[in-house]
């Protein structure tokens, strides 16, 4: 029986000729990731394993991004614990303030993941690296601890949904709109325990930034991973970022998929996910004026250079609406620097926005943009659960950088087309 892309990568990492959906395997890992929230729990678990060394100093990475630069004393203690552990174990890829960025933007940028890799991360958005043709999935801290110790993790081999992409996105419509549309269609558990595999001639029009964003939010449909077929765009990205030699796994012609869903990219509209689930996707025309108090453009979902470029294009020479706080967070130091050199930061600041150092901060209601009761935010982040960005009576609307930027200017949820035609 034929295998999906995901199944082929898992089989290769379990030393098996083939695997089937539902099979439990122990797979070798190419990279184990943790952040400043999940790593401390993993470090405590690691201590119980009676191992003095990690399995491979080059295949573990810790990124201090969630509550860093340290938001309070407890956060500082957690970062210190990670710093001390990485120092003691001589972990090569420890990213602290000054070097760190938001983990899922940082790792591809640093070339730490390549096509065909198997990666686990103690962060649910670890599925982002599927955009590079890797098997990559979020796990908990215990899995991270055991991964650091033995370089392996257990998996139940997933079945898959195939997304056959055709057509081309219109201007100001991006990967974020595609994934919000898909989650709206299949629901927050529509891909539960399964892979989402993206293929089709429409791939050629999707940038790496679009793909990373789409894979990033596979978890919001409950998926184990969201993987893209590798093409020249992938290979060029990996080459540019100094990634290891890619290994390309293509699905067998007779691979078994639970279903195939056709997506015509040219039909995708700017899409907004309403509170309090990412599946509450609506397009303009399905709702009236929704006034907002805050805009956040950033996160592992949409804090990449292309995201900032599109926001700057929309905000250039214009002012943010009165009484709307606009917070822009380049996801890594490199993106920050590039945005500065390209004049994007100047555009943002002149428009009345603030620009922050890289951090996950507001996305999970940590710091740097917490909402009060009754406040509404349009954000380019990935979750809009109750209390996600602050008070339980606040509201988070998920959207693309283009919609967020347009909304920043008008003070209500707005299509980019509306402000660009003025």
């Amino acid at each position: 029986m034929g295998m999906t892309m995901t199944q082929k990568i898992l089989a290769a990492h379990a030393g098996l000729d083939s695997v089937q959906a539902g099979q439990l395997i122990l797979a070798d890992l190419d990279l184990v990731l943790g952040n400043d929230i999940t790593s401390p729990v993993a470090i405590k678990e690691f201590a119980k394993l009676n191992k003095t060394e990690v399995f491979n100093k080059d295949k573990i990475t810790m990124v201090m991004d969630h509550f860093a630069p340290n938001k309070d004393i407890k956060a500082a203690e957690q970062c210190k614990m990670c710093r001390d552990f990485c120092g003691e174990k001589e972990i090569t890829h420890f990213y602290d303030v000054g070097k760190m960025g938001i983990e899922h933007a940082l790792l591809p940028e640093k070339g730490l993941v390549t096509s065909g890799n198997a990666v686990i991360g103690a962060d649910s958005h670890t599925c982002t690296y599927g955009a590079l043709g890797a098997f990559s999935t979020g796990v908990g801290s215990t899995d991270m601890a055991c991964g650091m110790a033995i370089g392996k993790a257990w998996f139940k081999v997933p079945s898959a949904i195939r997304f056959n992409l055709t057509g081309k996105l219109r201007k100001y419509v991006t990967g974020k709109d595609v994934i919000l549309h898909i989650i709206g269609m299949i629901g927050v558990d529509g891909a539960l325990y399964r892979s989402m595999e993206f293929t089709g001639e429409g791939l050629s029009s999707l940038t790496m930034s679009d793909r990373l964003c789409i894979s990033n939010m596979a978890i919001e449909a409950g998926a184990k991973n969201g993987i893209f077929e590798v093409d020249d765009i992938t290979l060029e990205y990996i080459r540019e970022h100094g990634g290891a030699e890619p290994k390309i796994y293509r699905a067998d012609a007779d691979a078994v998929y639970d279903e195939t869903i056709d997506i015509d990219l040219s039909q995708i509209e700017p899409t907004v996910a309403f509170p309090h689930l990412p599946e509450n996707a609506k397009t303009f025309g399905q709702f009236g004026d929704i006034k907002i108090d805050q805009v956040v453009i950033g996160s592992c979902t949409n804090g990449r250079l292309e995201d900032l470029q599109i926001a700057a294009e929309i905000m250039k020479g214009k002012k943010c609406a009165e009484n709307v706080r606009v917070i822009i967070i380049p996801a890594t130091q490199q993106i920050y620097l590039d945005a500065m050199e390209q004049g994007l930061l100047k555009i943002f600041i002149e428009s009345g926005a603030v620009v922050s150092t890289p951090t996950c901060g507001p996305c999970l209601g940590g710091y740097m943009g917490i909402l009060a009761a009754g406040e509404r935010a349009v954000t380019t982040t990935n979750r809009n659960f109750v209390g996600r960005m602050g008070h339980t009576e606040s509201e988070v609307y998920l959207a693309s950088p283009a919609v967020a930027a347009a909304s920043a200017l008008t003070g209500k949820i707005t299509t980019p087309w509306e402000v660009m035609s003025k």
Binding site: L24, L26, I37, T38, P40, V41, K44, E45, K48, L49, N50, H66, F67, K71, D72, K74, A75, Q78, G121, A122, D123, S124, T126, G138, V139, G140, S141, T142, D143, A145, C146, A149, I150, W154, K156, V188, D189, L192, Y193, I219, G222, K224, L277, L364, G365, G366, R383, F385, V386, G387, R388, T392
Partner: protein, 164 residues
Amino acid sequence: MKYTGNAIKYGDNVDTDVIIPARYLNTSDHAELASHCMEDIDKTFVSRVQKDDIIIAGQNFGCGSSREHAPIAIKASGISVVIAKSFARIFYRNSINIGLAIVECPEAADGISEGDKVEADLDNGIIRNLTTGMEFRTEPFPEFIQKIIENGGLVNSIANGSVK
């Protein structure tokens, strides 16, 4: 393993942000996490939960973040078992890895109401609603996972050499 406790019932898509809000993730202390468990969805949970109580929930329980703090907070609250129609996958593996008993059983999730007395006989895969007398069958875990649970979680399994 057999537990008896009162049912505390929730709906679909109970996410990890409401199980343990991120503002409390600057600690990994189990008791402290438990003291904020379910705070954003049910302010009464912490005061009314008793040892061995059983959470009953709908679909996709534990969706969202990979934070192991979520099953840790539930376990440290005294909850013995979570029975749901389905679980989000990271929460599912985290629970197995830390030794929080979880059971996927849509019939039990529908057939048990808030406050019902419930017996979860995990060895025999039987959930009994002692208040109504209804009985539900559950699927046993695959052998590989059962071995992890029998060894007291993944860390113990590796420490004692049963997973290499």
